[in-house]
């Protein structure tokens, strides 16, 4: 894969290479954050100095179906020893799926200096770079966060419903079987309770992982991404785009790709996604 700068991205500064991370391991202005689906990976070995942010334990409200609030985010930031000036670099398993999700949640609180390590855990491991088991601790910080902003990059069901038929472009990033309604859960994942299968009317189906190179988890080049999202699916940067999946995690990956790599200014993640839509009474469904 070509250097990040040579891939034609709209905002190449949001990606850093494994090399870059290796050169900045001791940089106090940078915090490396691992976010995985598999809870065994971080404790079994992580990039030296990296902290863990767990999507379930750290980013979700323990009771309501929602994300952590301002106080929760400030507490999390203090635990991992960051200030609003710290550059946070996310990486993780599964083509950075969960890293992008954590990145998205951090953007709900407007944390500006945020990046993704291209290729994630897979590339770091394949390159034989060091992994350690020692869990670092950093002095707690004071982080004053703004209230969570749910208007810019997040969208709720009722607003999605109102937008239908207004020219909004919906991107369903689930598997083709979920999109068609043949399944209501991911292939090989357990059934998680959705009453109806199908997709939101008008949605295009672009499985999220098409944006990544499977052999090393890096993102595809801008030209390859445009071939998928623009030539094949007919999106354009001026579109209002809503991405969704099953609970809003895979779609945060697509949100990241469209917003930062292709430079679409108006992309939102519908995190209620199919587990909300497919259980809602009376909403339109297409199969």
């Amino acid at each position: 894969m070509a250097d990040i700068e040579a891939r034609g991205y709209a905002h190449p500064e949001v990606l850093v290479s494994t090399d870059w991370v290796a050169r900045h391991l001791d940089d106090p202005s940078i915090r490396i954050i691992e976010s995985n689906e598999d809870p065994l990976l971080y404790p079994s070995g992580h990039i030296p100095g990296a902290v863990q942010v767990d999507w379930a334990a750290d980013l979700n409200d323990p009771l309501r179906r929602d994300y952590l609030d301002r106080a929760g985010f400030e507490k999390l930031a203090s635990r991992i020893g960051i200030t609003p000036e710290t550059t946070v670099v996310f990486y993780g398993d599964k083509n950075n799926w969960w890293a992008c999700y954590a990145f998205w949640v951090f953007q709900l609180f407007g944390h500006k200096n945020a990046k993704i390590m291209d290729g994630g855990r897979l590339k770091w491991e394949k390159e034989g770079r060091p992994l350690v088991r020692e869990v670092p601790t950093y002095p707690p910080t004071q982080y004053q966060a703004p209230e969570r902003d749910d208007s810019r990059i997040r969208i709720f069901r009722d607003e999605v419903l109102k937008k239908l038929g207004t020219g909004v472009k919906l991107v369903d990033v689930r598997s083709p079987q979920e999109y068609s309604g043949e399944r209501t859960h991911m292939p090989e994942y357990p059934q998680e309770g959705v009453l109806r299968g199908g997709h939101i009317p008008g949605a295009r189906n672009v499985p999220w992982a098409r944006a990544a190179n499977p052999e090393d988890g890096t993102f595809k080049s801008a030209a390859e991404l445009k071939a998928i999202y623009e030539q094949e699916q007919g999106l354009s940067p001026s579109d209002e785009v809503i991405a969704y999946c099953r609970i809003g995690e895979r779609s945060s990956h697509t949100w990241f790709v469209l917003t930062y790599l292709l430079g679409y200014p108006n992309v939102r993640n519908y995190d209620g996604s199919w587990t909300e839509w497919g259980n809602s009474v009376g909403v339109p469904i297409e199969r």
């Binding site: 689906e37 598999d38 809870p39 065994l40 398993d93 491991e125 090989e188 357990p190």
Partner: protein, 150 residues
Amino acid sequence: MAQPPKAFQQVIDDFAFADRQERIEMLIEYADRFEEVPERIATRPFPEEHHVQKCESDAYVWAEDLPDGTLKFHFAVENPQGLSAKAWAVILDETLSGQPLEEVAAVPCDSVFTVFGKEVSMGKGMGLMGIADMVTAFARQRLAARKSPA
């Protein structure tokens, strides 16, 4: 009706009372003891009939006949990030290899959910059950062969 081997039940009980952190530490200790199938049993490319279906970690299972009529189980996990599969393979090997076949056949595959807890709710449950399924199937096959010698 046979019960699963005592050693297996003991491990399941240990996990049933572990909190999230203890569970993770225990699983990593198990995964650290993982040893791949020896070359005298199988070499790459591994045959498809030993491949566990639905396992995202690309796991394989073999059963070696021991002189006393019991089985020694061997495993391969092709996904280097397949730590859960490796931990589960070690648990199955350490508690089921060399045990009476009736007891191995009585192992409930959904023990996966006691060992891995909520952590398995996304993704791995099916594959891990598939590994246990293949182990118990080998025991059942040998038992059936005993009853109706060819």
